[in-house]
Symmetry: D2
Subunit: 384 residues, 4 copies
């Protein structure tokens, strides 16, 4: 099987998420990295390309060069897809250009800097017939897919409550003042967009809630705070949620829960039981049927749904983690790309990766949270 030729925008040495993307697409041997514009600094881009063993001719000084040069290469040689792993304010331009030049794209979340950008990317993807995948990592975990499958199959009965929380503690201090790279752009409204914690982790939480439940948020009542003095973007948020179908919920996304790591957790309750998943133990899904013993469902076992099995590499008891969840998104993206190459456009299966619609909803989520936080009215509609 031929590997898919991939190029990268962003991900220079020292970046966090760029290296994650690479490990994720290398893991399953489905992609071959052929080119990149790894940094806005040309020298740094070249250095990264060299470290990665790329031909120097295909290490570019900027994404503009990369898109045009690659597009001019022979079909068998040029990159086929682009991975965009830059800060939020550098998602839109390369993604648009890539799609316009014939490349499918996979982009780190959130999709863009604003709702407008997100909607324009959606328009471009649709008009150009491009695949756009978005790395909402947590939906890649097999036990999250199991949770979704069980909710969809009605195992909990009608859904009633959704609790999702994403507490982190790493921004408990004024880290950006010390030049911490990850903190600096994430707390800078000119680079991150309208939301701080809301955009960085709140979008993950909201996406996960909608993904698992299959229900869309319709109204939000939010409080959004800047807790650490001097910070320019929110580092803490909480909201009451109203979903479709008369389901209510609570969302927490905070980066000032000192001592917490990356403790995304979701609980969904229906008439006849609940499901609970926590990122701290990602290979377990706790199923709590009403008036019966809770069951610990485990990745890699024989009793899971087909979609969970498809997204698992190892037998039960061999823990998979964050990189594997990430890689599952790349695998699904690869499947869609290969199908498109073969002319399969309406397969009878769901590729099951987050896409441009998730991306648009993510940006609307950020806007709605901020709008609600500034409003005296209890409920603000979630309107795309």
């Amino acid at each position: 099987m031929q590997k898919i030729k991939i190029g990268m925008v962003g991900g220079g040495s020292g970046a966090f998420i760029g290296a994650v993307h690479r490990k994720a697409f290398f893991l399953d041997n489905q992609f071959e990295l052929v080119c990149g514009a790894f940094s806005s600094n040309p020298e740094r881009s070249m250095q990264t390309g060299t470290e990665l063993g790329l031909d120097s001719k295909r290490v570019y000084a900027n994404f503009d060069d990369m898109m045009r040069s690659e597009a001019s290469l022979p079909a068998g040689e040029r990159m086929q897809v682009v991975s965009i792993v830059t800060p939020n304010y550098v998602h839109f331009a390369p993604a648009k250009l890539a799609m316009e030049n014939g490349f499918d794209v996979i982009i780190d979340k959130p999709l863009a800097f604003s709702v407008d950008e997100a909607l324009e990317l959606k328009r471009v993807a649709e008009s150009a017939g491009r695949i756009l995948a978005l790395t909402h990592t947590y939906t890649g975990y097999p036990m999250i897919k199991e949770a979704k499958a069980r909710v969809a199959a009605g195992e909990l009965g009608k859904i009633r409550k959704i609790f999702v929380e994403y507490p982190q503690g790493w921004l408990s201090t004024f880290l950006e003042a010390d030049g911490n790279k990850q903190a600096s752009w994430r707390t800078d409204p000119s680079k991150s967009g309208q939301g701080g914690a809301v955009g960085d982790i709140g979008t993950h939480a909201a996406n996960l809630a909608e993904y698992v439940s299959g229900l869309r948020i319709q109204e939000i009542c939010a409080e959004v705070n800047i807790v650490v003095e001097g910070r320019k973007l929110d580092d803490d948020a909480a909201a009451l949620l109203r979903f479709e179908n008369n389901v209510s919920g609570v969302l927490v996304a905070t980066q000032v829960a000192a001592g917490e790591e990356n403790n995304l957790r979701i609980r969904v309750y229906g008439e006849s039981g609940g499901l609970e998943w926590a990122h701290s133990d990602p290979n377990s899904l706790v199923y709590k049927p009403l008036d019966k013993p809770a069951q610990i469902l485990r990745a890699g076992t024989g009793y899971l749904s087909a979609v969970a099995v498809k997204n698992t590499r190892l037998p039960a008891g061999h823990p998979e983690g964050y990189l594997e969840a990430f890689a599952n998104i790349y695998l699904a993206f690869a499947e869609a790309v290969r199908d498109k190459q073969k002319g399969i456009t309406n397969p009878d299966y769901d590729y099951d990766f987050p896409g441009v619609d998730d991306g648009v909803r993510g940006m609307v989520f950020v806007r709605t949270m901020i709008e609600s936080a500034q409003s005296d009215k209890k409920w603000t509609p979630f309107k795309v």
Copy 2:
């Protein structure tokens, strides 16, 4: 040491919380049960009294008889304190009568049926010089006391966030339709008061948050739901909270989280760390200092505060539970009662049991939750 003579209102055979109170006050051998009006049904009251080995002359047909008869007994013989374990709508009258007849009282929460009743009990207690204790059980756990002590000592730095949740699943079905005794009165507004889940467990959650943090709730933004069709009182609630000192929080209290038991959990975060306690593992308190390993603090160890030690009976590794937490409130109440008998009114220590002010705040909490839920405004002030 003489035991304190105690009488009971409520707690007939088959009642849940009455038996809990008895085990709690028997455990440490500080109380002698001398009389009771155990049921509004005189025969049932007598049957319970007999089972408990009481002299039949001191098993009463109603609390009115009990208060007056006991008050007329010689000092060395008559009851000294009354335990009131009836449904909410039968708290006020026996409590008032008891205090007016010279008896200290200990009452199951919530304090009363309404804010007005609560305020009147406060007035009576103060004017009559009576002790009124309220069994907010969870504040009796040693590791909750440890949490409070650490927060008060500044170990977390300035507090920033408080998350408290109390999910239960036992009211996931329309249990009251089948005559379930516990469900029936709790979902009946004429017996329970203005709040269902809000009063039954929401008051515990709010009390716990204020107890541990030492901060008072000032504003509430609530959603309160009747989830199970046909039910007459709320079975589900969530709220954004604003505490004193610019601290925000989230409270969840639901009885329709199918599959959950009694999973009260509180997390408090400050500038330099967090604390987490869950009722499912009550002898542990997780301390999460910023950028250092989390510590599992354990009941019965040598490194805890004096107040935690005082509220622990056994060395580390010998689990204590709900009854022991309950009994700690009775022990503190006993200490106050004995001190009063000795004329000690201003000891240099805190008895540290929930009292009439907690009870008043609980009733105001219920009223504010309901008021907020009915309002389109985001924030409703918490005003006593």
Copy 3:
């Protein structure tokens, strides 16, 4: 219902296990403490009796006086049963005397100082027709009873493996050198008997394994160590076990596992599943059926066996602990005592408390462990 009149041997102020026994028998209001010989020091005995509110005439200077004086009291006044909570070397004499004077007895484990003493107590109990209960606490936990019931019902299929471990860390240092009271007698062969850790906690582990599995140990291959320099009795032991029915197992009992509390844990595996219980989470029993999700069975739920329900006081989610497990043994003892008073000698139910046969096996266990440890042969038979 009349309470059972109980007297105590041992349990002076400051003793650990005496206070535990008292809380255990007070909790359920089935016993009335009427007398005691609380200490070999008469003044200390009197002080303890006074603190406990006893009539000074019934606080005795020694157990000999107590047995004879109580036996001479009128039937309606005198004690009916004796609780013996002294160090091991003072079990035999008071137990024998009590039984010979017509009193049923409940004794802290291990039963005696030696196998010979144990066998003599068995002879006396049988010839005198006395009830002898032994407080192997852990068998009092409801989820241990559930485990036993499920094994007996064949839910695991034929049993194959039993792992039991009891790591403690409190004797990691030479504590007895500092006069620590608990450490001093437990590490003194003249007070504790042939075994240190083996007797103090190894007997619990062995008893629990036999209780849950319903299988008796037949051969032992042990290593027994004195790890802390200067200590006079073993503080660490491990053994390969052979049970009846071709079942093998492993037992660990150590008091030098620094950092461990009281972490008794048992796992039993059969053809079709396993069960796991840990003292650190006593209200859960993990059932692991082969090739299916593990189930967390919880105390207080509606799906447990009758025996687990009988030994639980509270609904699910209200943790019970060590004192309640202890109290369950007193409740079962009380049931047997009351039945005997009513002339019921062969009820169609099992009282289900550890008795003299368990006590004899415990002493044989200690002897066999020590004998095996001193032998070059792999297997030493467990012979009563």
Copy 4:
């Protein structure tokens, strides 16, 4: 940086461990798969090679062809290292041949079929100057490396006790009778060698105990069983261990603990504290200092040792798993291979991967376990 050219022996489609090795060496982009003899069935070998996108000329019908053909290729083209992932009885021949033809090797554990084979591989590796790495996966986990580092730094004081256990349940039934591929060769003495569970997982447990503690096993007292009727090799084993320096321990390795997954766990206790690691939560290491709160040390944090940091890819709270642990061994192997290419033979750092000496000890462990199990003597010396 040039990737290292790697070839594979074994790992045809459908094999478990072959795919694991590939993902492990692809993950970090340090290796390029250039050739393979993936199966003893030439067609299956070719099919696997095709799926992996290899040039068909470099997909070989057997390892003999592969070694000789590759050795004859130009230096810049031929493979540099060989990964051997066949069943135990096909480790020795390809490994020997590879080393004799100039290739470094990395081999799935256990090293060989017998002690003799292992010793011969050691001789060849040393005389030919080849690197031989062995994938004892669990030593690749960062928190295991942290445990080793802390023990070595004396944080626990003198070590006293080591408990290691590896319960699995997957062989609880006579799976090999149904043609299960993994079960079939593992339970076949002609393919697996002298040990079943002892070789398959017992070697992991023994290796882990020695790795973490830095102490070597000196004597073994073992019981080894065939529990499932009809099976030809042991599926269950337990042993008392004596390590250097007067340290004792217990080892359990069983494949009939029905309901267990892959629950390797190790606990090491010293004078002043203990460490506990479980494969079910591999990113945590519990440190239990004597008389202080237990600490949960977490992968990816800033307070760990250099070696743990080096073996971690992601910040705290982003779980890494089995494949990453596996990949850490490949990374260390790659480092050694590159160093050798650069002529660095005695770096001032430890490559820290399991090697031929671990492999020899593993085979001796198997032999000693079996010998002890057959002996009536308590202790059998562990002699290389």
